[in-house]
């Protein structure tokens, strides 16, 4: 069952982009759109959008970078671990949960490390990969998406995003405990 689901998704993922290009541009030809001219016209904005993101991403990443290398994470883990112990989250994966919204590459490294030291198919290994797979790099997405249109006041997006991350972690711990728990 899982196998069929997986291969179906893999096929769709592989074909999606070519099909997408054919349908969009093909439809354009049918509708007598000057496809090349319109494509170039649209593509022109690519540069501006990318450049607009720069200040937002610099602000975000350098703060996250400083936080990460300072070792402040260890301190936060020390403070939070009694609370996370209560909900049955092993102390080893707490840093991963904290780093996940902040840094994509950092949390990937941490997840790999956890799987190496505890075993890929161990409870902690499965939990770590589930936690990584059930969330996204909230701060990065926030900076890029809002930065691209110059949004400085992000209102309730960050709290809502962090609540989502928190419940994603809870969900990961819950389901992994039930299915692979000790």
């Amino acid at each position: 069952m899982v196998e069929i689901f997986r291969s179906a998704i893999n096929i769709i993922s592989a074909l999606a982009i070519p099909i997408f290009i054919v349908v969009f541009l093909g439809w354009g030809v049918i509708k007598k759109v000057k496809v090349y001219e319109v494509f170039v016209e649209g593509a022109k904005d690519g540069f501006n959008t990318a450049v607009r993101i720069i200040p937002f991403l610099v602000a975000m990443l350098f703060a996250i970078g400083i936080f990460r290398v300072s070792g402040a994470m260890d301190v936060v883990v020390l403070i939070l671990s009694p609370i996370t112990n209560l909900i049955g989250m092993p102390a080893e994966v707490l840093p991963l949960g904290l780093l996940r919204p902040l840094s994509g590459s950092g949390s990937m490294g941490l997840m790999t490390e956890l799987m190496k030291t505890n075993g890929v198919d161990s409870f902690i290994g499965v939990l770590a990969s589930t936690m990584y797979g059930s969330s996204e790099t909230t701060f990065y997405i926030l900076a890029v998406y809002f930065g691209s249109v110059g949004i400085k006041n992000t209102r309730h997006a960050l709290p809502a995003g962090l609540i989502a991350d928190f419940f994603g972690m809870l969900g990961a711990v819950f389901i992994t405990r039930i299915l692979f728990g000790i």
């Binding site: 354009g28 540069f47 350098f62 996204e136 997405i141 998406y145 949004i151 992000t154 994603g168 389901i175």
Partner: protein, 333 residues
């Protein structure tokens, strides 16, 4: 809130770094100026051309860990063997040069990084007894490790940010071009109409025939199938469209926040990266986490959507949408 989180990340980071460096200095974590004894085994004698001994310094692991007060043994071997070059300076003093290799104890690797990002460590030799092969030396001074790392990180990460942004140019241009053709051909309109029943509920403020809807739908679909290269440009296109109906430039609308939360909760049907890493580490069943990840991401998405809808009703956030109240708004962040 972002203002406070941002400044907290910076301040906590910098103050922790300073605190740890002071602590390192007080407890002398890096054993600055403390002589250490080890065995030195010569592998290559000195010649008249090259007045240096090549060799290996040998420590019992336990002695190394005890010297640096490391609680957990970092190496599996009982012995640390580290290549080193012993040179005699013109002043008559002897110097030990320790190149950093893969076999170097991680504590020394860290020290080398702190000593200025060099690929070697230096030590001053106090005595060297060739007959007994015994060497006594003091390692070079290492201090302010964390605060140096913070300085380096600030510069490096700013650089990374620019690299990431610029690397988006290509895919952005590609997808924006294709989307523009779809728009001109009326394809986005058709897609928008199809999805209206769902999007009307999620984004009540967005007119149901607005092009933003199509872009958002395509972004969410691309995310689900793990097409990251396509998802970001479509997401940014959606943001651009949403911003066209934003009454107050620079402030996020309810629809933008909802859309962002859907993205940050990362609902993916196949977490391809994780599966690849698991397979690489020799997992018996790399795909075992597909179901659990979908469950976790579904929890995140549900919680995110509920909280975004509740939070947008709070007077605090509602007030920020008002166009007149400009000055008060800037302070609120």
């Amino acid at each position: 809130m972002l203002n406070y989180v941002w400044i907290s990340l910076l301040m906590i980071g910098i103050f922790t770094a300073v605190g740890r460096d002071i602590n390192d200095e007080v407890t002398n974590t890096y054993r600055n100026g403390v002589p250490v004894t080890a065995q030195f085994e010569t592998t290559k004698q000195r010649t008249s051309v090259r007045p240096a001994y090549d060799g290996e310094i040998i420590f019992p692991s336990a002695a190394f860990d005890q010297f640096y007060n490391i609680s957990s043994t970092q190496s599996q071997q009982t012995e640390i063997r580290q290549t080193a070059i012993l040179t005699t300076l013109s002043s008559g003093k002897q110097k030990l040069e320790i190149p950093i290799t893969d076999a170097t104890p991680s504590f020394w690797k860290e020290m080398a990084k702190a000593a200025g990002g060099k690929d070697k460590l230096e030590a001053e030799i106090i005595s060297f007894d060739q007959g007994k092969k015994e060497i006594i030396f003091t390692m070079e001074r290492v201090s302010f490790v964390k605060i140096k790392a913070v300085t380096k990180a600030a510069i490096e990460f700013s650089d990374t940010a620019v690299t990431i942004s610029l690397s988006l140019i290509g895919v952005m241009a590609l997808w924006l071009g294709i989307m523009k053709v779809g728009e001109a051909a009326g394809l986005l309109e058709i897609l928008t109409k199809l999805m209206t029943p769902i999007t009307r509920r999620l984004f009540p403020d967005v007119p149901s025939n607005h092009p933003a809807v199509a872009a958002m739908i395509m972004n969410i679909a691309a995310n689900m199938f793990g097409l990251n290269n396509a998802a970001t440009p479509m997401g940014l296109k959606a943001m651009e469209e949403l911003n066209k109906i934003n009454p107050k430039a620079g402030t996020a609308t309810n629809a933008m926040c909802t859309f962002l939360v859907i993205n940050t909760s990362g609902l993916t049907l196949i977490p391809a990266t994780v599966i690849a890493i698991r397979a690489g580490l020799g997992s018996a069943d790399p795909g075992i986490i597909i179901g659990t990840s979908i469950f976790g991401a579904a929890c995140a998405t549900t919680a995110g959507l509920i909280s975004v809808k509740i939070l947008q009703r709070l007077p605090r956030y509602k007030k920020e949408l008002l166009v007149e109240d400009k000055d008060a708004e800037v302070k609120n962040g």
